[in-house]
């Protein structure tokens, strides 16, 4: 009988995930998206492609939007990670979540968490983005349902709401 795959080395990482520090042993080749989904069970982070193509796994790393499928979990030691699950505060939807819900910026919902996190990253650094700036910031996030019309409307509406 052949033996199972050799286990890759693990490292202990400390991550501030959605406001709470946690420690986990992660394999050195473990991707951030897999760590978030399989270890932390933040399944709002989606996998839509084979790596860096669709943006569905977008999270905020130290406040900056980036796809978590092309980042090693081990590189996030000591850093802050925010996922869609962290946006609801005190039982209230975040303004982007409200806008995407009310304006139908979401249809099937699969790209939505990544789309909202990319938009959240944008609004934090640019509270009143133009259409062109919205298009630019979300150009790495694919949606197959909406044609993006209501996504742009949602982000604009959110920018008008109080944070």
């Amino acid at each position: 009988m052949q033996t199972a795959s050799p286990q890759p080395r693990k490292r202990l990482i400390r991550v501030k995930l959605n406001g709470r520090w946690r420690e986990d042993a992660v394999a050195e080749n473990h991707l951030l998206v897999d760590y978030l989904r399989d270890v932390a069970r933040m399944t709002g982070v989606k996998t839509g492609c084979d790596g860096g193509e669709c943006g569905a796994c977008t999270v905020l790393l130290d406040g900056v939007a980036m796809p978590s499928c092309i980042m090693l979990a081990a590189r996030c030691d000591g850093r802050t990670v925010e996922t869609i699950e962290g946006l609801v505060r005190h039982g209230r939807l975040n303004r982007l979540q409200r806008a995407f819900h009310q304006k139908l910026g979401t249809q099937c919902g699969f790209c939505t968490p990544g789309m909202i996190m990319a938009a959240e990253g944008l609004l934090r650094r640019n509270p009143h983005p133009s259409d062109a700036e919205i298009r630019n910031a979300l150009s790495g996030n694919l949606c197959r349902c909406t044609g993006y019309v209501k996504i742009i409307e949602s982000v604009k509406a959110a920018a008008e709401m109080l944070p």
Partner: protein
């Protein structure tokens, strides 16, 4: 929230929208699977061959591998059309495309499963492989399927009216050859399946991405040789479909086979590359179209030949090639139509149904040719369309019923909104306007699996808590069908939308539904939901009538209060009436049903059911483009679209569907195409397969036209597919308007446009040289 018809004119947010914006929505790959094995598929590395040897013993012996299955484990074929089930979940004896599943493993983790695949030994005696319809149709070609000589899956030959006389009456006859590349659904959620076979009680539970849970249920029973009562199919959240999941897919059955072999739960997440291999989308299509037209724009005859490269297995193919001909009708009044369709097998991943199923490429050719002929006759494109409008109610030559048609109004609206008359022909160089019309069915009037049962059933439940639960098998795949059901029930009952809960897609509790295909849900399930709610309403009205000492037929319920007629006296609150009704009969469940009558189910000719529907949606659109002659790039500046959906039950969702379908048409028109090199897909990622990003997506101005279909729920028809087919021809017509070049191939990539520009310059130079000499 309210279901009051007046306030919902702005539209209602999705009832499951909060789950989606918070990340709480669980899609198949998100389901709890800590104790599940990981399933992986070993796929054929060759396009066509006889299997000489398949040895999985080393894979089976690898530590951590729990089960390995091959074609030996399933001697049953499956497929969506009862007449064309020619595919095994795992290949037996022969492989017919690169990427066809041959074996599968279930292991303790993904790494082990991947290593196991490497240990599978596979030998094939290669056969000639065909990657184009022409190669596959050659006289000496080896048939992929022995019973299909010439690799002809289905030939369709229909003739309605007197085509010869029609052409004889024409002032202008034109013929074009137009081809459309194969495209893919590219729904953002990759396929996945979670199967849980419990060997202790012999029951199987499958959760999958299916749009057609009922068909999946049937095929699982068939392929696993199990009693249907021991199977449960549950639909989690689904991340888009567009037709990708309207037939049962090989990996779903394979996951179940693995789960049974392993005696436990197996999760099979497919990669994006495997999604492209699973395919089932719109085929590469060659069209030869000939139209006859009178000087006033009236069409006198149509002759159309369509060749579809269908891939290696039947799938929906027969239906697709029938749709391509049937839906030449139902939009214009054409006195004579001849159609010849050829669905061809080739050694590529099987095609299937995709949004606008079968109609899109034929419509593209038709609307392009209409424009070219209009130009030749000096007629405006709008004039030509108006000259040929259908007037409802009517029956087409091929016996399709048209009960409502708002296309004339759609044309008026987009002509006005785009300021067509002021702007056409007056735009600066490189800018152009183009238009086109399209339509689509609101549900195939004859179900694929004919059982004689009602075409849709919804159960509505009411219990002590006063909550109204609508139980439906209809799959909400993001189009908002569950929200539509909730609105239909709430509005019929006169209660708040919040009071209604929709439970969808669980074979253990919800009534069977044929699924989310052919845009059938609003029309059929919507009508069934209204029927169920009306039955519940009469039960409640009886209880209220006793309390109010009135006749049940005089009882009205609005704003959750029962009153006698419209009197302003204080009425009975909903919850009191519920309690009174429950005293009589305990918890209430009432079924509602809907069926399309036989006269709406199409003609008696072979294949006549395809295209039949209770209601067609109609759309007109105008596309404005800028063409850069330096690099061949086409930019879509703006789209104006109007769609007749009968009545918008949820205007917000209708707008979203129209925008999404127009935009999907833009992808096919501009950038999307699959490409194979010796059967190997070289497009199998979302970087190579160019779905438009937000950066190149235009503003889309939507207008909703409400023709109030006499049979639709509240007068509604479909809104999700009808507008798609109009975009590609409107774009090609706009490019012609901008630079005077008629393009005969989709997509209009910079390469193709540059080639056409270079060709034009070459011809101009040649003509100049001739003139000089």
């Amino acid at each position: 929230m309210t279901a009051d018809p007046k306030t919902r004119r702005q539209g209602v947010a999705l009832i499951d929208g909060v789950e989606k914006v918070t990340g709480r929505a669980r899609y198949t790959a998100d389901l709890e699977h800590a104790d599940a094995l990981v399933g992986r598929i070993f796929r054929s590395p060759v396009s066509h061959g006889e299997i000489v040897r398949l040895d999985v013993s080393k894979a089976r012996a690898l530590e951590g591998v729990v089960a390995v299955v091959t074609g030996e484990d399933c001697p049953y074929t499956y497929g969506v059309l009862p007449v064309a089930m020619n595919e095994y979940p795992l290949a037996r004896e022969r492989v017919r495309y690169r990427g066809e599943p041959v074996a599968a493993v279930a292991a303790i983790d993904a790494e082990t499963a991947a290593r196991a695949l490497d240990l599978i030994e596979f030998e094939v005696r290669e056969l000639p492989a065909y990657y184009t319809a022409a190669e596959a149709r050659a006289v000496d070609a080896v048939p992929l399927h022995p019973d299909r000589p010439g690799n002809l899956e289905r030939g369709v030959h229909h003739e309605f009216g007197d085509v010869h006389a029609g052409f004889a009456a024409a002032d202008l006859i034109c013929e074009e050859r137009i081809s459309c590349a194969e495209v893919n659904h590219a729904q953002i959620e990759p396929h996945a399946c979670l199967a849980d076979y419990d060997p202790l009680n012999g029951r199987l539970t499958v959760q999958s991405v299916s749009q057609v849970g009922y068909y999946l249920h049937l095929m699982l029973a068939r392929c696993l040789d199990m009693d249907t009562s021991r199977i449960r199919v549950v639909k989690p959240f689904i991340g888009g479909g567009f037709g990708a999941r309207v037939e049962v897919l090989n990996f779903e059955i394979i996951t179940a086979l693995l789960s049974r072999a392993a005696g436990g739960k197996v999760l099979m997440p497919l990669t994006r590359e495997e999604n492209f291999l699973t395919h089932r989308a719109r085929p590469q299509t060659d069209i030869r179209l000939k139209l006859g037209m009178r000087r006033d724009g009236r069409i006198t005859a149509c002759e159309c030949e369509v060749v579809q490269r269908g891939g290696a297995y039947a799938g929906y193919g027969i239906v697709t090639i029938l749709y391509a001909g049937a839906l030449l009708q139902g939009i214009y009044d054409i006195p004579a139509i001849k159609y010849d369709g050829y669905r061809i097998y080739a050694n590529l991943p099987p095609c299937g149904a995709m949004r606008g199923h079968g109609s899109v490429n034929s419509r593209h050719a038709f609307e392009c040719l209409l424009d070219r002929m209009a130009r030749e006759l000096g007629l405006d494109p709008f004039v030509v369309r108006r000259a040929n409008l259908l007037h409802a109610p009517t029956r087409t030559l091929n016996d399709l019923t048209v009960n409502s048609c708002g296309l004339a109004e759609c044309l008026d609206k987009v002509e006005r909104a785009s300021r067509w008359r002021e702007r056409i022909g007056k735009l600066p160089p490189g800018k152009g306007l183009g238009m086109a019309c399209s339509h689509y069915v609101s549900g195939a009037a004859k179900p694929v699996h004919w059982t004689g049962e009602p075409h849709a059933v919804v159960n509505v439940r009411l219990d002590f808590d006063g909550g109204v639960t609508a139980l439906t098998g209809a799959a909400d795949i993001g189009q908002g069908s569950s929200t539509m059901v909730a609105i239909a029930v709430a509005e019929t009952l006169g209660v708040s939308l919040d009071r209604v809960r929709v439970v969808a897609g669980d074979s253990a509790v919800t009534p069977k539904d044929n699924g989310a295909y052919s845009s059938r849900i609003t029309f059929m399930v919507g009508n069934a939901a209204i029927d169920a709610a009306q039955k519940l309403k009469s039960i409640l009205a009886e209880a209220a009538a006793r309390n109010l000492e009135a006749r049940p037929e005089d009882i009205e319920c609005a704003g959750e209060t029962f009153r006698v007629g419209t009197e302003r006296q204080s009425g009975l609150p909903f919850i009191d009436v519920v309690k009174a009704a429950l005293v009589d009969r305990g918890p209430i469940t009432v079924p509602g049903a809907f069926s399309c009558p036989p006269e709406a189910q199409g003609g008696k000719h072979r294949g006549g059911a395809v295209g039949s529907t209770m209601g067609f949606s109609y759309a007109a659109q105008v596309v404005e483009v800028s063409v850069d002659e330096a690099d061949g790039r086409v930019t879509v500046d703006k789209v104006w679209v109007a769609l007749d959906c009968g009545h918008a039950i949820n205007p917000l969702a209708v707008e979203g569907q129209i925008e999404g379908s127009v935009w999907m048409g833009m992808g096919q028109a501009l950038s999307e195409e699959t490409r194979y090199v010796n059967g190997l897909p070289v497009h199998a990622s979302l970087l190579e397969y160019r779905v438009p990003t937000i950066a190149e997506s235009p503003p889309i101005e939507v207008e909703i036209v409400e023709s109030r279909d006499p049979y639709g729920p509240f007068g509604a028809k479909e809104a999700s597919e009808g507008a798609l087919a109009g975009f590609p021809p409107a774009l090609v017509n706009a490019v012609a308007n901008a630079i005077g070049i008629d393009l005969d191939e989709l997509p209009v990539t910079p390469d193709r446009l540059m080639e056409a520009l270079v060709e034009r310059r070459r011809k101009a130079r040649l003509a100049a040289t001739r003139r000089a000499s």
